[in-house]
């Protein structure tokens, strides 16, 4: 009788009491919460992002474009926490409004690079052969072009609109992602679950995007977290060079604020927005680099590994391409 094979109800009840059922994600979340550095960095990042995102609706925050020459170039005070620039505009407001655009550019640019990179890499790796050679040769060629040149040209092409800025930054960022994904796909495509999917009659597209791509997510997430700050920095850098048509948007980007402030630095001990953006970058870097749980939330069975394994893993992944 099958009943004889079942453990008694009391045993089952004890087991349930001992260990409540946990999903992969709740497990990863629990591990993340134990890492104090990661949690504080995460909280900081969320607070910063929220402040930037809701800047226009923050009570008491002055208009970032409001000029008052009489109050120009003031050091930080209670009224202007970060001080004012040479035109008397409040720097905190400008930093937060600029941060809004920086954040948006970073996220959308990364999304564009993610879409292109993952698709390109997955298709190249899966199809293989001549197609793979050709697709990867394209990546090689684009790698050898200076990205500054590409971005400047793309901006020139499509006039200086914000949308094109997103696309331009995304367009030059997808190359490494494509290599990473291709390397992963190469090692995944001969595994049995892919064979099983094919045996069940799944189409190539379904196999690539439903079965293989989700399995490449580990390195992809790692690299994505590194792409966001890279895009933000590039955007700041373009603004710094004055290539973004700052006059079009009243609240300038981070780089624009910096550029405008640099000649006036003698007035302040250290530009406050610089400090803020450094903190932001610090937080962005803190999450991916210092916390294994954040980088591999889906790997429950592995003990938290240190920098070495992850650096080597990423290195290998890139070199396979």
């Amino acid at each position: 009788m099958s009943i004889g094979l079942r453990p008694p109800a009391s045993v089952l009840a004890t087991a349930d009491r001992l260990r409540p059922p946990r999903s992969l994600w709740s497990d990863a979340w629990a591990r993340l919460k134990r890492n104090r550095v990661a949690v504080s960095a995460g909280v900081f990042l969320v607070v910063m992002s929220a402040l930037a995102a809701f800047a226009p609706w923050l009570p008491g925050l002055p208009d970032p474009a409001l000029q008052d020459l009489a109050k120009g170039a003031q050091p930080p005070s209670l009224v202007h926490v970060f001080g004012t620039d040479e035109l008397g505009r409040d720097l905190l407001a400008r930093v937060l409004h600029g941060g809004r655009i920086s954040l948006l550019v970073g996220l959308v640019g990364t999304l564009v690079s993610l879409l292109i990179g993952v698709t390109w890499g997955a298709v190249a790796g899966y199809v293989g052969g001549r197609t793979d050679d050709l697709m990867m040769r394209v990546v090689d060629v684009l790698y050898a072009l200076p990205y500054i040149f590409l971005v400047i040209l793309l901006l020139v092409f499509f006039s200086r609109s914000l949308v094109m800025l997103f696309v331009a930054l995304g367009l030059v960022q997808w190359l490494t992602m494509a290599r990473i994904v291709r390397g992963q796909v190469l090692s995944l495509k001969h595994q049995t679950f892919v064979e099983a999917a094919r045996a069940l009659g799944a189409s190539d597209a379904a196999i690539i995007f439903r079965h293989i791509v989700p399995n490449t997510l580990g390195p992809v997430i790692v690299y994505t977290t590194l792409t966001v700050p890279a895009v933000i920095l590039q955007e700041a850098f373009l603004s710094f060079l004055g290539l973004r048509g700052l006059h079009r948007l009243p609240p300038p980007l981070h780089g624009g604020t910096r550029r405008a402030t640099i000649p006036m630095e003698g007035v302040r001990p250290l530009p406050a927005h610089a400090r803020l953006s450094c903190c932001a970058r610090g937080a962005i870097h803190a999450i991916p680099l210092d916390d294994p749980a954040a980088r591999h939330p889906h790997r429950v069975d592995r003990r938290a590994r240190d920098d070495a394994g992850r650096a080597r893993e990423l290195d290998h992944v890139i070199r396979q391409g």
């Binding site: 060629v141 092409f157 290539l243 953006s277 610090g282 920098d307 992850r310 650096a311």
Partner: protein
Amino acid sequence: MTTYVLRRLLLMVPTLFVIASLTFVLMRLAPGGPFMSEKEIPAQAKAELLKRYGLDRPLHEQYVAFLRNTLRLDFGPSYKYPDRQVRDIILQGFRVSAELGAWALALALLIGVPIGTIAAVRQNRPADHAAMFLALAGVSIPNFVLGPTFVLAFALTLLWLPAGLWMGPSSRIMPVLALSVSYVAYIARLTRAGMLEVLRQDYIRTARAKGLAEHVVVVKHALKLGILPVVSYLGPAAARIIMGSIVIEQIFAIPGLGRYLVVGAINRDYTLVMGVVLFYASFLLVLNLLVDVAYSWLDPRVELA
């Protein structure tokens, strides 16, 4: 080995050809032209200018002429700086950028590798935490914040160093420092990561069991393998440090290659841009090859194929 290097060198020819064509097409497709400034130039003068630079001929003739000139490594005169040959601009700009980059990279290695090694040997102890905190700070500070801050501190307040230009040794200190900080930080992290991995391997235990002094084990045995991540980073880093020092060159008014690229692209200086892009591309390809060769030399398990 020789065949591998030869094959890679041969492969560069079609790659460079595609890059040259792509740059040509992109530059010509871009709206605007080299002689469109705010001031209106008289039509006659403009026609003369176009004729002088061969821009009045059909595009395909210009393309062929461009390819032929490229083969002879002669890109003609710049449009923005009409009295100078692009080749001379590149050579002069490269000399400056390469010196700036070489100093910065050397400094980054000299500081970054020891810091990373010490951090790895003292893992999870105060020295490690301090080193990694500094590394995080270094990676996080953009160089366009660092540069002006240096100028403010050392040139305008303390009056120790000149605020800019590229003349004499004292003018090199600040740009080199400002450029190298993020590389110091990143190399320290990479070294630490690589060393942590290596220090746990069996052959290190064997070396210790033989009774070798700890510094011999670390420096002679572990470092050779532990530095591999740094080596593979050096290729792209060297290319980026030379072209990517545009910001530093801008802040300190240094006449380097990166600045010419930006100036050229904004002014549609066709010859200058195509010269610089091709130069950069070949430079990067050669560097990547060097890195791959160095990699197989440091780690015999890596096969060149």
